[in-house]
């Protein structure tokens, strides 16, 4: 019947294709007019990059349909698995993502690993455009002898562990030592230090996992050193997180004034954010706290400190060779100034005893699929303004596009730009013309491969379950950490 209608329409000259009958298909009439054809857009990754890109496309195109694929059974990426449990306000962006996912032209499909369950080529066949927003799931390795010893962990795995990332639940970090060393001086390093040192009662009402809470309750860690190769002017963390450390209850800061000699003069001309950060470090290292603060510090049972100009050369084993017992550090000096300053060894060495080593040197993206270009040196997908090089119709946004740095707002801006680029290309006729089947085609493939996608309303059931479990223990949620359990709860 619908076919007959379309025959009478003035634009029946357009080639007819076999209509798809999925319930989300727009009316056939629309499919036969390029004017009103629904662009089918695919986004891979449901963290901030994926959702903000989807949001932009949906907002600025009245017809486009966006499908968001996610490897985990649950959405939101690092907002759920990266942001620290004691930073719940940062997770408020989940509300806007939820609105997007619920919109009629958007669908979320979790538990689908692109590159394994479905290839990028198959996605490009089914959609007019594919946006890769899958972030950075690897960590930058230390590359030193002793890295394999028990007691050496990546900060990324530790964060995944306390945040309920399924693949890190078996981590079982040993917190029976009194000193931990974190290598790297970014916000992740501060997050890890803060979670290790925060009085555990402050974590009890957060969404930290039950297992992590119990392990931290037993922790013997009293001192955490956060070690960087360069100096105070090159720290990668931001001031808000530093301020939080300085004010951390039950702890005192350990900074060596010698690291700050001459800093006052060097910061005169630096941009404001760097200047304020350096000034706060300087004040903390060399200033006299008021009496109340001095008392608080004197009483504090735990401590954290920053060590500068130290580059890790080796993880030292315990006498029986069974575990990490320290880090051998090369003393460095700086060549050059500012962000571009390089650390060069002086020849001196220093050993720092500890029982736990956490490497926090940055994240790294992985290539998702052999058909997608990848720059192993930079760890990103080669692109120009979000258009993947030599791959028309393929885009990227977020960390896999620019590298794994920046906060949510940075990724938001970047994702809007990719969305804009995509829509410009659509407008300019640079994307494949003619209708595409979108999810209908992919669903058939997944079905034949025994993959069971989790819809957004499925997630909302899991969400309700987490919130309900959390309520009985005074937490905003008790996270589900076992994908098998999640699928069982959904009837599989």
């Amino acid at each position: 019947m619908a076919l007959r209608c379309s025959c009478r329409r003035p634009w029946s000259a357009w080639p007819r294709t076999r209509p798809s009958f999925a319930k989300s298909t727009p009316s056939l009439r629309r499919q036969f007019s390029t004017q009103e054809m629904t662009p089918q857009i695919c986004v891979v990754g449901s963290g901030p990059a994926g959702f903000y890109t989807a949001q932009h496309v949906l907002k600025h195109h009245a017809k486009a349909h966006v499908d968001i694929y996610e490897r985990q059974p649950v959405p939101f990426g690092l907002v759920r698995f990266g942001v620290a449990p004691d930073h719940p306000e940062v997770k408020n962006v989940i509300n806007t993502f939820t609105q997007t996912a619920r919109s009629p032209r958007c669908a979320f499909w979790g538990n689908v690993a692109v590159g394994r369950d479905v290839t990028v080529a198959e996605l490009r066949e089914a959609y007019h455009a594919v946006v890769l927003s899958y972030g950075a799931e690897d960590h930058q390795t230390l590359g030193v002898q002793g890295e394999q010893l028990p007691g050496v962990l990546s900060a990324r795995a530790f964060v995944g562990w306390y945040n309920g990332l399924p693949e890190n639940q078996a981590l079982a970090p040993d917190l029976s030592c009194d000193t931990a060393v974190i290598l790297g001086q970014g916000n992740v390093a501060l997050d890890v230090a803060r979670i290790l040192l925060t009085p555990v009662e402050h974590l009890e009402r957060t969404d930290i996992t039950k297992a992590a809470l119990e392990t931290l309750r037993q922790s013997q860690v009293k001192t955490v050193w956060i070690v960087g190769r360069r100096g105070p002017l090159q720290v990668a963390f931001t001031i808000k997180e530093l301020r939080e450390m300085i004010q951390l209850p039950g702890t005192r800061p350990l900074l060596d004034p010698a690291d700050f000699l001459g800093l006052q003069d060097r910061i005169k001309e630096v941009p404001r954010p760097r200047k304020r950060l350096a000034e706060l470090l300087l004040r903390t290292a060399t200033g006299q706290p008021g009496q109340a603060e001095a008392d608080r510090r004197a009483r504090a049972p735990r401590a954290w400190g920053l060590r500068f100009f130290r580059s890790p050369q080796q993880v030292l084993p315990s006498p029986d060779g069974q575990r990490a017992a320290g880090v051998r550090l090369a003393v460095t000096r700086l060549e050059g100034t500012g962000e571009a300053a390089r650390a060069v060894p002086t020849g001196d060495m220093e050993d720092l005893p500890c029982g736990l080593v956490l490497s926090s040197l940055g994240y790294r993206s992985r290539p998702i699929d052999p058909s997608v270009p990848f720059d192993p040196k930079l760890g990103i997908i080669p692109n120009t303004e979000g258009r993947v090089v030599d791959a028309p119709g393929l885009y990227c946004s977020g960390w896999v596009k620019r590298g794994p740095t920046g906060v949510i707002a940075t990724t938001m801006t970047d994702s809007f730009l990719t969305g804009q680029t995509l829509l410009q290309d659509l407008q300019a006729g640079l994307l494949p013309s003619g209708p595409r089947s979108g999810y209908v085609a992919i669903q058939a493939l997944l079905d034949s491969r025994g993959v069971w996608p989790v819809s957004f309303s499925d997630w909302e059931k899991l969400d309700a379950e987490e919130v309900s479990r959390g309520q009985s223990v005074g937490k905003p949620r008790e996270k589900l950490v076992d994908p098998q359990e999640m699928l069982r709860l959904l009837g599989h």
Binding site: Y52, H56, K59, D86, H87, P88, E89, V90, K91, N92, V93, I94, N95, T96, R205, T206, T238, I239, K240, R243, P271, R272, P273, R276, L277, V407, I408, A409, T410, M412, T413, D414, F416, V467, P476
Partner: protein
């Protein structure tokens, strides 16, 4: 008394209205966070600072001591000019934050207010004309910490903590792009026009 909706060209006025400064009313229109997260503010909550996550409240304290106005008719017209030069007009109640105005009027500014008014991002930041800063309470460390992440820093305020006082005239420039690595983007321009008082 206030005639809501009466607007005036900002440029024509360079000094604030005389007379005693008005006291802020209870903060209305706070943003709800996701179901019961600690520190999230429910709709219609009171003047409690209520910023999330246990952070020190960054609401600016009021120093004026004029008698409180209780009229719910006190509305101020705000004009936002977007990067395409279009004007987005909205009204807000005395005591609302400028973030509330954007959100409650559904103003078309992509990505504005990502953290929903909890001082955890910088997507709502505003720039004021020089003389306006003299009228406002000093900016807090916490606010400045978030502003440090915003692009092209000058003297700015985060609108999640900025209020306006009915006696003040603002020319507010809202520039929300937070990308510190790229070149300047056109700013959003916001103008706050006063109703008429006394």
């Amino acid at each position: 008394m206030a005639a809501a909706g009466c607007t005036r060209l900002l440029r024509a006025v360079s000094a604030p209205l005389g007379g005693p400064a008005r006291r802020w009313l209870l903060l209305a229109g706070s943003r709800a966070g996701a179901g019961g997260l600690p520190g999230s503010r429910g709709p219609g909550s009171s003047a409690e600072a209520g910023l999330g996550g246990g952070r020190a409240g960054a609401r600016r304290p009021l120093s004026q001591s004029a008698p409180a106005r209780s009229s719910s008719e006190d509305k101020v017209t705000v004009n936002f000019i977007n990067r395409d030069g279009e004007t987005l007009t909205a009204k807000g109640k005395v005591g609302d934050s400028l973030l509330d105005v954007v959100i409650e009027n559904n103003l078309d500014i992509d990505g504005f207010g990502a953290c929903e008014g909890t001082l955890a991002c910088s997507t709502c930041h505003l720039i004021f004309e020089e003389h306006i800063y003299d009228k406002l309470q000093p900016v807090t460390d916490e606010e400045n910490d978030m502003l440090d992440l915003a692009y092209g820093l000058t003297d700015r305020l985060l609108s999640c903590v900025a209020h306006w006082n009915l006696v003040l005239y603002f020319w507010v420039i809202d520039e929300y792009f937070v990308d510190t690595l790229t070149k300047p983007r056109p700013a959003f321009h916001t103008s706050l026009n006063q109703g008429e008082f006394d």
